[in-house]
């Protein structure tokens, strides 16, 4: 999702696993996915990138009628397919 340019829209395909520090995909690593989903970023949802903060900062996305700020590290793990 973080690779989309401002103004572009995409549809969420999936959310990638978070590799924990110990190198395995423990269930704890999924906490962040639950949180993204609870905030409405579920597969099939349309998102529009509004802007991204400088210095590799968070991105502002428009999703489900509201405006979210999402840290870059998290946004990197949200896979989207670009819409024309």
């Amino acid at each position: 999702m973080s690779e989309l340019r401002p103004g572009e829209t995409g549809v969420i395909v999936s959310i990638e696993a978070l590799t924990t520090r110990h190198g395995h995909h423990g269930r704890r690593g999924w906490g962040f996915r639950r949180r993204l989903e609870d905030m409405g970023l579920t597969p099939g949802t349309r998102v529009m990138i509004v802007k991204s903060a400088p210095f590799h900062g968070p991105i502002e996305v428009y999703v489900r009628g509201s405006r979210l700020a999402i840290g870059r590290g998290m946004a990197d793990r949200v896979l989207v397919s670009v819409e024309d």
Binding site: S14, I15, L18, T20, R27, R28, G29, G31, F32, R33, R34, R35, L36, E37, D38, M39, G40, T42, P43, G44, T45, K51, A53, P54, F55, H56, G57, P58, E60, R64, G65, S66, R67, L68, A69, I70, G71, R72, G73, M74
Partner: protein, 636 residues
Amino acid sequence: MGKSVIFNHLTGLHQHIGNWPGKTVERAEGTLHFKGYTIDVVDLPGIYSLSAFSLEELISREYIAVENPDLVINVVDASVLERNLFFTLQLMELETPVVVALNLMDMAKKKGIEIDHEKLSEILGVPVVPTVATSRVGIYELMQTSVDVIKKGVGKPAKIEYGEEVETRIRKLSEVVDKLQVPYPSRWVAIKLLEGDEEIEGKIRRLDPKIVSAAGKFAKEIERIHGHSCSTVMTSERYDIAGRIAREVQRIVPPTKLPARERLHALTTHKVLGYPIMGLVILSVLFGIFSFGDYTSQLLGGFFECCYSVYEGLFGTGVWAALVWGGVIEGLIAGVSIALPYLVPFYLALYFLEDSGYLSRIAFLMDNFMHKIGLHGKAFIPVMLGFGCNVPACLGCRIMETERERFLATFVVTLVPCAATSVIILGLVGAYVGLEWALLLYVVDLVIVFALGRVAFRMLPGESTGLIMEMHDYEMPHLRTVGKQTWFRVREFVMMAFPLIVLGSFVIKVIDVLGLLGPIADVLSPVTVVWLGLPAITGITLIFGVLRKELTLLTLLALFEAEFGTTGFANVPGFGPVQMIVFTLVAMLYIPCVATIAALVKEQGWRRALFITVFEIGFAILIGGIAYRILLLTGM
């Protein structure tokens, strides 16, 4: 949004602020007197979901399920209906009586959103009251509806139906859960088990582990059907229902002109202009807080000096009189001159910025920077405040979401040099060694903050959470609510911290009166003299610094004067530039002052407060000794 405004309308001045038992989450409670009813109103944390992700979410669902309130008022942001209905649906799953306060109707209208609240009520099967909390619209109706619901009960709320393959498995699970003794509704437990909610799994496993493994099997089956994990499927479906309902009840005609608040948002998050604007806002807030604080604490100081002359006239200067004044009254003075002048403007500014929505923009701009020490954007605000005073900064750390982040942020904040520390840095090193050395000390402190923050971030268990936050539309804060939020929190701090501050100053005064300061300085001399290379009497001043950090400097001045007849710090035997730098370094890093410790105890509990305090004393001594040796090597 608007939850605290509605809570304040309901409870007026009958409020009590505290923490949830054993938690660092604030709990506000109040009483509503309405038509002969006395209703206890509890302000639950503002959350988006009822999963077990954050403490707030856990606390809320435990409260609703276990305490079984007569009614839950769900404050919904009408301008972001879909996201808010997602939460309403989860409340309904908990099978608790719900009244929806459809708030910010004015904001929705400005965004061109029209909502048919009667239709919404019909679909959900729960009462819906449209409100504009800031101008008190709909508050009376909300009270009336709530009382009606408590008195007569409501019809059954609509059931949220998942897809057939999910529903059959929920049914099977809830049949077996039904036989267990749990405080939660069976259907809800079944849903949470399918979602893999660790907290509920743990509770059910203790009663019947077979149910948990069956749920795990079901979840795998659903995952195979959909190609996504079961919890993803269920969250998706819930959001789909929320979206469907939202589309059914609202009509959107987007305004043709970009509203002013949209332009303000674009400006304040702009990749270039956003930063100078933020700098200006923060500087003016800090300037406002400290010029007000400085002015009032000087006024108070003068007032207390007058009090002392009167006191001396009345009670003389005997041991007991000195003990009462120095131990008890001076403790109170220290408390008053910190709590009132700095905390009041701090809370006013904090709630104003938070309620207006600007705080989330600051977090957006500073997120990347704070990530370097394992925190995210929101932590920037307490850290900034720490430069003024650590006390409000510690209290401000509760804006972080998880327990881990709160602790980490608090720890970092107590290392930031506060205004009193700056007095020492500038007044001693800046004035007698050189301004470049004073600046170097600031740099050293920031490097230490950064390094320790990183170390703590790596050592603390748990994953670091990234930033996910809603950026609400800008809104003019409701000033009465801001005022009340400030008043109740200052009152709570006074009640909590004052006894501790008084106790601290009493203990030190008793030590002083008993003539134990000298012996204690001797006991400390292996550390102060041998390891740090400082004069022995600095041990005494560092003890006084626990009360207020600038006292380290003032008592040192007085002690030197008594011993050597010097004024100022120039030409004091055995206290050259090296000693000045080492002394300042230690004073900067060691124990937070007693008011900060009180704030730490209040926010983090005794154990963590003690841990931070002891750690910082040890760390200050370590760094001080190393610096002493390095400075000697440079031949200063």
